[in-house]
């Protein structure tokens, strides 16, 4: 700025940046660097760490429960990401239409987003309960005997995915809706003049022009699902038989329940690396399907 006092400027910079710098250093840089160091140690958080080299990283691939957690996290991701994309895209398409009650629909679909995962988990634990749950009751009216859901190792993860979909679809529908609203009407008008069917319009106008938003949503969903924890912690505690233990749950258990904080740090770094690799792969793949220019 013109004609301002240098001292005043320096004081302002320091004063205004102080809280954010403190946050950056104390809550991010220091703990991250420390955890990088601790990941090469045997550390129980109580006594001083001892250096053990890359043993913890080897343990990630050799320890049975650690491997299981990685597999389960991928199982969750593979089910959750596509289903959330499909459902929220359909919802967004409808919410983009000029329906009379569209504002009401938008407001209502967003309500589950307000809930904490704990509330969602407790609610769905009841709904999925084998004996007193609503879902199995409704299934029994159709003549189907429902499984024990969260107590059945085949269905526990599916049940968690359903509950997660219920909470998250409104959020992602609203994100995608913003993308849809940025598409100019002209494309649809000229397509109408050419006699394109609605389905055709969806695939040749909507999807390509929405692809940047879609790409962003897929990235966020993937990152979120690799870090999934709350639902499992409340609904199944990782069970039955370890079928819903996730990577973050392993990190939490190792650090705070089993006193293997060094291993937990290594697992956290592994999670970061997996996230990074998947993001880079998706970023590479986007060149094939994301259109940044107009069609």
């Amino acid at each position: 700025m013109v004609g301002e006092n240098k001292l005043h400027k320096a004081i302002t910079i320091i004063l205004f940046l102080l809280p954010c710098l403190a946050g950056l250093v104390v809550f991010n840089l220091v703990p991250i660097i420390q955890s990088a160091f601790m990941s090469f140690t045997d550390w129980n958080m109580l006594s001083p760490p001892t250096f053990i080299g890359p043993d913890n990283f080897r343990e990630i691939f050799s320890d049975e429960s650690s491997v299981k957690a990685v597999i389960n996290t991928f199982r969750f991701t593979i089910m959750y990401v596509p289903i959330v994309i499909v459902v929220s895209l359909l919802l967004a398409t409808v919410l983009d239409m000029k329906l009379k009650l569209v504002q009401v629909y938008r407001s209502l679909i967003f309500i589950p987003v307000l809930l904490s995962w704990v509330v969602v988990s407790l609610l769905w634990m009841w709904l999925f309960n084998a004996d007193s749950g609503l879902i199995n009751y409704l299934l029994s009216m159709l003549g189907i005997k429902g499984p024990a859901w969260l107590f059945d190792k085949k269905y526990a993860m599916v049940a968690i995915v359903i509950a997660s979909l219920w909470k998250d679809m409104g959020y992602f529908a609203i994100l995608l809706l913003t993308g849809l609203q940025n598409i100019s009407d002209e494309y649809y008008e000229s397509a109408s003049l050419d006699g394109a069917s609605p389905v055709r319009k969806f695939f040749s106008i909507t999807l390509p022009l929405l692809s940047p938003t879609l790409f962003f949503v897929i990235i966020i969903l993937t990152i979120n699902s690799l870090q999934v924890f709350d639902q499992m912690y409340v609904m199944t505690k990782g069970g039955p038989l370890g079928s819903t233990t996730t990577m973050v749950m392993e990190i939490y258990n190792n650090a705070f329940k089993l006193n293997y904080a060094g291993l937990a740090c290594a697992q956290a770094w592994f999670l970061v690396i997996v996230t990074l690799v998947l993001t880079l792969i998706q970023n590479k793949l986007q060149e094939r399907w994301v259109h940044y220019e107009t069609i």
Binding site: P19, L24, P31, M97, L99, F110, V119, E189, V272
Partner: protein
């Protein structure tokens, strides 16, 4: 309906499908609401009934025996309000410097902050816990609040917004003898109210619903926040659905009230965090 204009007739079909989906979305809330007032017998009986025979408020008293409910609710409100307030202020202050005051290394510092957005909290939480314990911040409000006051996305959103304020506005203020502090509070903040609201809403939601950090940093039941408090209720009574729903209701209603009053901002916030983030 301009976009899919050929769909004129199926209008009714689309509305019906939408109402069906919304029924699935909303019905669990209704189930939860009435469940909170049922007796334990009623939540276990098959076939289930929607309404309780009589509204039974005893459930709330019951959970208070395990978790000091009033205190936990108070903690949650206090922590969420203070976290949000501090976060918005700190993000705006940093955003102002990054947008309007140049100094050496500014861009580098800004990029460093953006990079922290990519780092999952799980990476820092273990050693951060250790640091907080050493600073005696476990089981304190400060321990619950502090990590949430730093938000890289908020700094980014505010910096982008403050950059759009023309320098001439600020210069006019400086001509009249205003300090940076004065310019920030009387010129900048009023001009970026919508983005402040976005950051505030996202911050409030994430603080109110935050789970893993309070789970780690608090063990004392007087310092619990609602999500962790609720998870304790569940740990104790595995089939007392009525009690769990009562707890759920207490956790959900404050958020619902905020939503009813600031509904438009909520949806805009989510939308805004998407395009720019």
């Amino acid at each position: 309906m301009k976009r899919y204009s050929r769909l004129h007739k199926p209008h009714i079909v689309i509305n019906t499908v939408m109402v069906a989906i919304l029924a699935i979305v909303i019905f669990p809330f209704i189930w939860m609401f009435f469940g909170a007032f049922k007796t334990n017998m009623e939540v276990m009986t098959m076939p289930p009934k929607l309404l309780p025979d009589k509204f039974n408020f005893d459930n709330f008293a019951q959970i208070s025996k395990l978790v000091p409910l009033g205190r936990v609710l108070f903690n949650s409100v206090l922590v969420a309000v203070l976290t949000t307030g501090a976060q918005v202020l700190f993000c705006a202050m940093a955003g102002y410097v990054f947008a309007k005051i140049s100094f050496r290394g500014r861009e580098l510092l800004f990029i460093l902050i953006l990079l922290t957005m990519m780092i999952p909290f799980q990476l820092s939480m273990i050693t951060l816990y250790k640091i907080f314990v050493r600073m005696k911040l476990n089981n304190t409000y400060l321990g619950l609040i502090l990590p949430g006051t730093y938000n890289a996305l908020g700094i980014f959103l505010l910096r982008q917004n403050i950059r759009t304020i023309p320098d001439s506005y600020l210069e006019a203020g400086f001509m009249d003898g205003a300090s940076h502090m004065k310019a920030f509070f009387s010129i900048v903040l009023p001009l970026c109210k919508p983005v402040l609201a976005t950051v505030a809403i996202l911050g409030f939601m994430s603080s109110w619903n935050s789970f893993i950090w309070p789970l780690i940093i608090v063990s004392d039941s007087d310092m619990l926040t609602l999500p962790v408090g609720l998870s304790r209720i569940q740990g104790r009574w595995t089939t007392q659905w009525n009690l769990m729903m009562a707890g759920n209701l207490i956790s959900f209603i404050p958020m619902l009230l905020v939503y009813i009053f600031a509904q438009k901002y909520f949806i805009k916030s989510v939308a805004g965090s998407g395009i720019k983030g």
